[in-house]
Symmetry: C2
Subunit: 337 residues, 2 copies
Amino acid sequence: MTDEPTRRRPTLDEVAERAGVSRTAASRALNNAPNVSRGKRDAVQRAIKELGYIPNPTARALATQQAGAVGLIISGEDPAVLADPFYGQVIAGVAAVLEEADLHLVLCLATSTRGQVRVKQLLQARAVDGVMLMSLRGDDPLTRLALEADVPAVFGGKPLHGQVPYYVDVDNASGAREATDHLISLGRTRIATITGLLDTDVGRARRRGYTEALTLAGLSPHAEAAGDFTERSGIAAMESLLARAPDLDAVFAANDNMAVGALRALHRAGRSVPADIAVVGFDGLTASEIAEPALTTVRQPIQSIGREMTRMLLALIAGEKPSPLILPTTLIRRDST
Amino acid sequence: MTDEPTRRRPTLDEVAERAGVSRTAASRALNNAPNVSRGKRDAVQRAIKELGYIPNPTARALATQQAGAVGLIISGEDPAVLADPFYGQVIAGVAAVLEEADLHLVLCLATSTRGQVRVKQLLQARAVDGVMLMSLRGDDPLTRLALEADVPAVFGGKPLHGQVPYYVDVDNASGAREATDHLISLGRTRIATITGLLDTDVGRARRRGYTEALTLAGLSPHAEAAGDFTERSGIAAMESLLARAPDLDAVFAANDNMAVGALRALHRAGRSVPADIAVVGFDGLTASEIAEPALTTVRQPIQSIGREMTRMLLALIAGEKPSPLILPTTLIRRDST
DNA sequence: TTGTAAGCGTTATCAT
DNA sequence: ATGATAACGCTTACAA
C-alpha cells in the first residue's frame, strides 16, 4: 500500500496562468463579475475545466469575511434530545433552505458546559454567518450569549424570559386551547393535563391554553402532572394522574411523545381509550398516527419551523429586519377522542 | 433604532502590540508553544484578556490547512430520513467525541441531486478535514466520490457494493440469526420476515441472518415482505404477509420501526401478540420499549456507532490506519415473543 | 528565546 | 476592461 503523495490542488493563479490572463481577471471570471471580456471569460472557464480547479472556501471566507455556514444550536441537558424525531424534522426543513442558499450547516449540541463554551467561541469568533437556537430552557445563558455576540440569531420558540427580536414560533396557547375545547365539546368535564417542561415557553404556553379553555367553559383544571416531553415521562405522569385523580375522563398532553406514553400507561391500567378516557397530544409526529389508538393531536408544521427559521436568518444576514413569525396549528381528530 | 457599527474584533497584531512583543511571540504564546519566555507568555495572556481577543478560525484554517470541522453526510431520498430517531442517536455519539476533539460538525443531507453536488464540492474543496457517510444505498455515487476525494472518510455500515477501507458496522447477520433462533426456540415454525431496503448492506445482511438460521434449523422461510425501514412500510408489509400467508406464527422485522408498524397491523387484524404471532424487531430504539406489547428486539449500540465512527475518523486524520470495526448486538427479550 | 519575512488562496481597491 | 497591489489574520520556516 503506497502512501500516495496528496497532489496539491490547483490555485487560481495557476488557472490564470494557464488561461493567459491575470489572477484578477480569473477571479472576476470565476465569480462572473460584469467587467470581463467575453474572450477572457471563456479562456478562464476552459482553464478551470482542464485543471479541475476548485476554489478554496477557506481563503474565500477569509477574504470576504463570510463563513459560508450557519449554525444550528440545540440546547438541552441530554445529548439524546436529538432522538426526538421533532428535531429531525426541523433539521430537514433547515437543510432544504440552506441548500438553495448554498450555505453549510454546522450542528452544535450545547449540552455540556464544554459545549456551551464551544458555542460561545463559535459565535464570538464569527465562525458562522448566523445561528439558529432551539429548545432553550429557562434563562439559558445561550440566550444572552447569542444576543450579545452581535451575530444574526433567530430563535426557535421564544425563550421563557426576556425578549428576543427574531424568532419563529407556533401558536402554542391557541393550539392547546383548541385541543381542550375539543375535549370539552365531547362532553368531558374532568380534564387533566400532562405538562411539558415548565421552564420553557412552549411548556407554559400549552398549559396556559389548557387552563384558559377550561376557565372559559366554566370548568377548572382537574389534575396536572409534569413531564419533560419524553415518552417515558408521559408514562410516569399518567400513572401519577391515575393515582391522584382516578376519575378523570380526559387528558391533554403537551406533546405526542408524552401522549403516547399516556396511552401506554392507560392500557396497562386497563382503562380504555377513548371510552373511559380521551387523550389529545400535540405535534403531529408520525408516532401519533401509529399509536394505538391513533392519537388526536394538534399538528404543528415542524418542517416549516425549520424552513422559516432559516429564511428569517438569511434575511437577517442580508441586512433586513424580518418580523417574528408565529405559525398556526391544526387539530387533527383521530381515534383517541 | 441605530445601526450600531459592528466594532472590529482585535487581531493578534494588536494583542502583540499591547503586550509589547512581536506577533510571532504572541502566536507562540497563544498556542502555548514551548519556545516563549515566561514573561512574554504572561504579557500576552494579559493582553488577550484585556482586549478580549479571539483567534479567527478562518485565518487559522487557511494557514494551517486544517478546516477544524468534519462532515456527517446522510444520504437518502427523503429529507425526512432524519425523523428516524436512529440518526439522532448516532449524531449524539458523534457530537460527544467531536466535542472532546474540539472539532465542529457539518451536517449534510445529500438528498437531492443538488445536495450531492454540494457534498462533492465539500469534499473536493477540502472544506472539512474528514467525513463520515451513512445510509448509502446500492451503488450510491457518494461512495466513489468519498473514496476518490482523497479526504479521510469512514462509512457507517458497509456499502452494498465495493470495498471500503474504513467503516464501523454492526454484526447484522449475526443479530438477525439470533433473533430468528429465538423464535425457533419458542417452537415457532412458520416464521416470516419483513425486510429492510434490499439495496443496502444492512437490509441484505439481516435477511441473510434470518434465512441462515432457518436453514440451519431445517426450516425454510415462510414468507417475506419488503419494507423500507419506516413504520408505515411495516404496516403495509405486515398486511401483505397476513394476506399471503395467514397461517404464519412469527415475524422477524429488520428494524424496530417496521416491527412497531407490524404490531399495529396485527392489532387491527385482530391477531394477538405473542399468542398468535410472535414479533421481533431490530435496533433497540425507545419505541421498542414503549410499544404495545413491549417489543423483543436485537439491540445495537447506536450511540457507539456514532462515537466509534468519529474516533476512527480522528485516527485517520491523525495519519493512522485504523481497522474496520464491527460492533456486537444483544437480543432483548420482552413481551412480543 | 526571539523576530523577520514569507506564505496560505482568495477578493477588493484603485489606478490605468 | 484590466492588472498590480494590498488586504484578510494567522502560522511557520529561517535567521539571529
